[in-house]
């Protein structure tokens, strides 16, 4: 399975034409169109009617396109969302494996009807409550469409736990840690967000986003998301290995090859131990760097194509 590159994401209400029509210019790896919490009840049906026409707009800049559905209306939301080009359907506040199996079956139904290879659309089982964390292993195992797993933090989680956000320590050590362990135990990609004590809750702070992205990358995280265009570039940059780290990784790999040629298990490079562990880390970094470069080139090409040929903006 090829690894996906989703260093940055922008979540936006799908019923906001200004956000949607400009979304493909934002250089996001993933565009996440919301049918859920940012869309008021009175506009849910209108929001659903937009998904099909929004997908090609999102794809114009080379991003993956996803949609966040409502827990109350999975059937209508999935019927409105499972169209060619849709990359991923996110189910919020997931609390049971049964729910993910139902979502999987609904998507399969529309994939068959609409000429999409069955299994092509991924599912994100968002974990945002204590019960979701408690059932995390079963939820993540419920469908092969769940390729990545994580969660156990954020506003919904704080709501469920009855804790304040931004209190100067990490209230989600256990819940987020459990989700990460589940992802790793099941061999899935995982999303993490390293705790930073200086968070103000600002959704547009580029510098804080960059520092967090770097911290996430060093902790093994590879994915990011956000709510404001300001955070896209720092997310992309922070989760991409800088050239000096790639060069160092290459030196480690060639030093390890030399160690192996000598028939040894470990050696040394400028005071650093070079062994199978360090070599594997270096190989992963080089691989990730290559995938990031491929994604960047793909987005660049798509944007150039799109700038020559822009589709009609969505009506309001």
């Amino acid at each position: 399975m090829p690894r996906r590159v989703r260093r940055s994401g922008l979540m936006m209400p799908i019923n906001n034409p200004r956000f949607v029509n400009n979304s493909w210019r934002r250089n996001c790896d993933s565009l996440d169109f919301d049918l859920e919490d940012s869309v008021p009840q009175s506009q849910k049906e209108y929001a659903r009617s937009l998904v099909k026409q929004v997908i090609p707009i999102g794809l114009m800049g080379g991003a993956d396109v996803s949609v966040r559905i409502n827990t109350a209306t999975p059937e209508a939301d999935i019927a409105a969302s499972a169209w060619p080009g849709m990359g991923r359907i996110a189910h919020p506040k997931t609390e049971s494996a049964q729910r993910i199996r139902e979502v999987d079956a609904l998507i399969t139904k529309y994939e068959r009807l609409r000429g999409i290879r069955v299994g092509a659309i991924e599912v994100t089982a968002m974990i945002e409550s204590a019960l979701g964390v408690s059932n995390g292993y079963d939820i993540a195992s419920a469908s092969p469409r769940v390729k990545a797993f994580g969660g156990g933090g954020g506003y919904d989680m704080s709501l469920d736990m009855g804790v304040d956000m931004f209190v100067g320590f990490n209230q989600f050590v256990y819940s987020a840690g459990e989700c990460e362990l589940v992802a790793r135990a099941l061999g899935k990609e995982f999303s993490i967000s390293v705790h930073m004590t200086d968070t103000s809750g600002s959704v547009s702070d580029a510098e804080a986003t960059y520092l967090r992205a770097v911290a996430n990358r060093k902790a093994g995280g590879r994915s990011g998301g956000g709510l404001h265009p300001n955070v896209v570039e720092p997310s992309n940059r922070g989760l991409t290995p800088p050239p000096e780290e790639v060069d160092q990784a290459r030196r480690v790999l060639s030093a390890y090859e030399e160690v192996q040629r000598r028939g040894d298990a470990e050696g040394e490079l400028n005071g650093q131990v070079i062994d199978a562990y360090e070599a594997a880390r270096a190989a992963e970094l080089i691989d990730w760097s290559r995938l990031c470069a491929e994604k960047d080139a793909f987005k660049e090409q798509k944007r150039r194509e799109a700038e020559g040929l822009q589709p009609q903006p969505t009506a309001r």
Binding site: P40, S129, A130, G201
Partner: protein, 309 residues
């Protein structure tokens, strides 16, 4: 469990009748009559006999009365100490669902004998072993009586052979696990932040409040108070802060206006903090909790003024 407010559980030895007689004055949400404090069988027997007469004085201030027993003497303790007016039983050291069912059976017998409505006595468990913490989910699910789960840190340290050290908390995982499983099952996790779970201090209300507030922001809903000095700071910490109430009201009003305009994501006035459904929902729940706390306080105030007459 229906939502309830129980922020402070003031624990006193029932053998110390002087403390029992003044226990109602500290405005605790609950008074824990501990029958396990004395040494030896004679002391235990004396403690059991003192429970019945201690219920009325302990509850004079409107606090609920709980009795703390031990697992080794579970059946004897329950049968001797459960009387009308006892809201619940606190039992440490349970490790499995079968342990909870055993306690459930003892309670059924004692309820029948003493004319207490069947199934009305709550169970509060304090886990003190790796096994108990690992099994927390089945322990919570084993009885609908179960209302509260916490850690008995000193025994847990002994079980795990950990030396207490104020500078770091070795129980981050254990606390996180019981909090998440309790919240998932809609029961109360109780506790305070490190180091007061293992090295409690009693003479610094600010520090008590700080660690209780930190406990609240870990997910705990209240704490066992080993000294009356803990009650006031705990009552304050495990409730929405008075200065947050205006903020929650502004969140609700701002969000309602935004929804009327056709958007469900809007910044809090003068900031870049986003208000959306969960933020609004939290404000709604916090305001409801605030109302419940106010009503609990009013009940206690009326009991206190009656007691003072």
């Amino acid at each position: 469990m229906n939502p309830f407010v129980r922020r402070s559980h003031l624990q006193i030895s029932v053998l110390n009748q002087e403390e029992v007689l003044s226990s109602w004055k500290h405005k605790a949400d609950a008074i824990v009559l501990d029958i396990t404090d004395g040494a030896g069988l004679a002391a235990r027997q004396q403690a059991r006999e003192l429970v019945r007469g201690s219920i009325a004085p302990a509850s004079k201030g409107g606090g609920e009365v709980l009795v703390r027993i031990s697992k080794e003497a579970l059946f004897a303790d329950v049968k001797a100490a459960l009387w009308p007016g006892v809201k619940g039983i606190i039992c440490p050291s349970l490790e499995t669902a079968a342990d909870v069912r055993e306690l459930d059976e003892a309670l059924l017998e004692a309820e029948k004998e003493h004319g207490i409505p069947r199934g009305s006595t709550e169970v509060l468990v304090l886990l003190d072993s790796g096994k108990g913490i690992w099994n927390v989910r089945e322990i919570i699910a084993a009885s609908s009586r179960l209302s509260t789960v916490g850690l008995e840190e000193s025994s847990l340290y002994r079980h795990m052979e950990i030396m207490p050290d104020a500078s770091f908390d070795p129980l981050v995982y254990a606390k996180g696990r019981i909090i998440v499983e309790a919240v998932a099952a809609k029961v109360h996790p109780i506790g305070v932040a490190h180091p007061y779970g293992i090295m409690p201090g009693f003479d610094n209300p600010q520090e008590i409040h700080r660690l209780a507030l930190r406990g609240k922001n870990m997910g705990f809903k209240g704490a066992i108070c080993l000294h009356p000095s803990w009650v006031e700071p705990c009552n304050r910490a495990y409730a929405p802060a008075a200065d947050q109430i205006d903020y929650f009201k502004t969140v609700r009003a701002t969000f309602a206006e935004a929804v009327a305009r056709g958007t469900a994501a809007t910044p809090y006035p003068g900031t870049t903090q986003m208000i959306d459904v969960p933020v609004d929902e939290r404000a709604r729940i916090m305001l409801e909790l605030w109302e419940m706390v106010q009503s609990r306080e009013a009940d206690k105030a009326s009991a206190l003024s009656k007691a003072a007459e």
